[in-house]
Symmetry: C2
Subunit: 352 residues, 2 copies
């Protein structure tokens, strides 16, 4: 499947197969910390960049060229799905994404668009262009938001600190939330499947806000939908690895390892070695340097990256990454120092 790739370290590590070196990429690596990204961003707004395959492909490939990561994650946004379902999305400076028409009742849920793939064709095209331009240098990662995370934005009408509107709805009208989530699941499966068709070698499902749920609600509204999505994807694309990321999930790691995903991506609040004990090599692990470490300097970054690599230990199921997205204020040389440290100290003995 990944025979077209010159560098397939990420794919092999995701499958816990032998690798000569730990692969590395960074969440939000196609982003504002790169002057080359900002140059593109100055000329187009964020949504236009997402929706213009040439621009999306350009910034997707930038970190491969500039920072030397082992994979390109398609430049896009998790809110493309809610928008394609009919919510009018705007990015307001200072307050982030805003939906004018949030989902608050059953009519709102029922009037959401179904079978929205045609609306999202631009993502497939961006992936096709990226794959074609990369020409097998590194794998391409597709992604989607998870149902609970998308639902919080759709209900709140934008970003939130405490998710009170979404959680009030969860506790007072759980059936309504369930219908919203049930509406999202097939769309997410179709969307990721389309990305794989377009050439994505691996996909990641981001549940950014799973961690704000109490345990029983996490299971019902985050874990179950995630499991259904992985199942749906695996039925159609058994060979394409799936990564799940649930920020703040900590105590739920064993459950995430049971979703059927190949890789669980970790935030920085858990120790990588401890996490490995929790999941018992059932999955590969991705992560989990505290992104704040990239604000220091190359010497500290190298030291902390060495610690990270040795905390995973022997074996092949580790994908080096941050525990959350890289922030705009990271100096590019610091991002490079992280990637270089993995390349220098992530060498593995392959006996086969």
């Amino acid at each position: 499947m990944s025979s077209h790739l010159q560098n397939d370290l990420l794919i092999r590590a995701a499958k816990q197969q032998p690798v000569e070196r730990t692969p590395v990429w960074m969440m939000r690596q196609a982003g504002r910390y790169l002057p080359e990204y900002q140059a593109v961003r100055e000329k187009s707004d964020f949504l236009t960049m997402c929706k213009t395959p040439e621009l999306a492909a350009e910034v997707t490939i930038q970190p491969v060229d500039i920072v030397g990561v082992d994979a390109a994650i398609i430049f896009s946004d998790i809110l493309t799905i809610p928008e394609a379902m009919g919510l009018s999305l705007e990015f307001v400076k200072g307050s982030g994404p805003v939906f004018d028409n949030p989902v608050r009742n059953i009519d709102d849920v029922e009037s959401l668009g179904k079978n929205i793939l045609p609306e999202l064709e631009y993502v497939g095209k961006a992936i096709e262009q990226t794959v074609s331009q990369l020409n097998g240098r590194v794998p391409v990662i597709g992604f989607s938001g998870a149902p609970w995370t998308l639902a919080t934005y759709m209900i709140e009408g934008g970003s939130s600190i405490d998710y009170k509107v979404a959680k009030k709805l969860l506790y007072s009208q759980p059936d309504l939330l369930k219908r919203l989530i049930d509406a999202l699941i097939p769309e997410i499966i179709e969307y990721l499947d389309m990305q794989i068709e377009a050439g994505a070698d691996i996909v990641q499902v981001f549940d950014s806000w799973g961690g704000v749920l109490a345990p029983a609600e996490f299971e019902e509204f985050a874990l179950k939908p995630m499991t259904l999505i992985v199942e749906g994807l695996k039925t159609r694309n058994p060979d394409t690895p799936v990564i799940v990321f649930s920020k703040g999930a900590r105590t739920h790691l064993p459950s995430l390892a049971d979703t059927g995903a190949d890789v669980v991506s970790l935030d920085w609040m858990v120790d990588l070695g401890w996490a490995r004990e929790q999941v018992q090599d059932k999955v590969a692990l991705q992560g989990n340097l505290d992104p704040a470490i990239l604000l220091t300097d190359p010497t500290i970054i190298e030291e902390e990256t060495k610690n990270l690599l040795s905390s995973y230990g022997d074996g092949f199921g580790h994908i080096a990454n941050l525990g959350h997205g890289i922030t705009p204020d990271v100096p590019v040389e610091n991002a490079k120092a992280f990637v270089q440290a993995v390349k220098d100290f992530g060498i593995k003995e392959v006996n086969c």
Copy 2:
């Protein structure tokens, strides 16, 4: 020690002694959800309320009278200590607390005030007035912020979403952060000791932002200082129970139970029964209803409270509370429904 109390359920539960009923109070119970609080707040700004013992005592007692909680937590703010150490504190509408002169280098740390108790006399006076007016109806809870949480505000210069300034300093100048924390520890001990002298029957240390730290940093900058504070308090006041609260601590619960504290207060992201297994009855547990549940209605609140009580199970070491502070938009009748549900369904069999 607590012989002056007509209702000492909280004190006995904190010591895991037999109680006829699970005690209940709510973090931030003296707060904006109460019209009676807002009436006081309309006439005085927040800091004036903290610093005027009559006003502080008045709002401290309100939830005992109105909502029927089993304890009164002194109305104050965790930022009283940084302010007394010389940082000029302002509460700016919309952005919360702001320090004009944040702590960023060694000179800033060295110029912080020491032995600041005289500056905080108003808190002692507020407790004395509260104790005198309550006349033993319920215990009074004193509190302080924990060193890491206070340090984040002092370094950031106010509230923060990602604590980047504080964490950059943590990773790049750990010795500087350590000096700041070492400067805070004795002041916190003195401050809580003074509150106990003034009549507080129990004290709580709030580490609101412990959960944003990676595990090794949590141990060094949150757990160790917390342990030293509990030790300092216990040396002088062996009979006064100490509660520690570290939001987002989850996987660190066994370590928190080893601090020497009597009670570990839980956020809502862990299951109470699971937490009890983690701490093995070494400590009592406080919490942990999702505060968002109070946004629903009395029927749902009663149901969820019953579930909470039964998830603790038999035995006497449970103090019912929320997993975080009550929010301003909670209807008073919902707060009452929570307290009443604990009173109705928290009855215990005492065999002695």
